[in-house]
Symmetry: C2
């Protein structure tokens, strides 16, 4: 199992229609083959400047690679992520010992 996570902050005003649109449209990523346990999260610690997070799991690296190359993911990154995200940090995890 590989858990792919990203913490991020949007360029949009908090609570704006643009923010809601981005978060709603991100749900399309959940339908890409191989994506398991897709979660849209609010980041609530005051110890960093990120406002949201996405988390998803893949069975293996092949499933992760297929997601990365999938047209729905590629289009989302190009048309929404690259335009609307101000800052982000990707963290990918596997169980310790795996």
């Amino acid at each position: 199992m590989i858990r792919h996570t990203v913490a991020f902050r949007l360029r949009h005003t908090s609570g704006s229609a643009e923010e809601r649109s981005f978060l709603a449209d991100a749900e399309s990523l959940a339908g890409i083959p191989g994506v398991e346990r897709f979660e849209r999260l609010r980041q609530v610690s005051s110890k960093n400047a990120f406002a949201f997070g996405f988390s998803m799991e893949f069975a293996d690296q092949a499933a992760y690679d297929a997601y990365d190359a999938h047209p729905v993911h590629v289009a989302f990154v190009r048309d929404r992520w690259a335009v609307e995200v101000e800052d982000f940090l990707e963290l990918d995890y596997v169980p310790l010992g795996a």
Copy 2:
């Protein structure tokens, strides 16, 4: 539900006995009342400089606060974390809409 996560890097050499000791002893945190789904993780993305992660969930803020104040947690932070961790980032998540 609040998911408390921390990504970190140790001062120890990768694969060292000191590293193994730290990761093994961290398992004691899993026994603190209120801690659910405790996970010790390896961070595998090349897009950041963290090597490990811990993740745990709490039912609510009261459970999180109780963990924070619990003597086992306080001692671990004082005796191990503050001494052996080189860099870290805490990210706390709640489900979007919660």
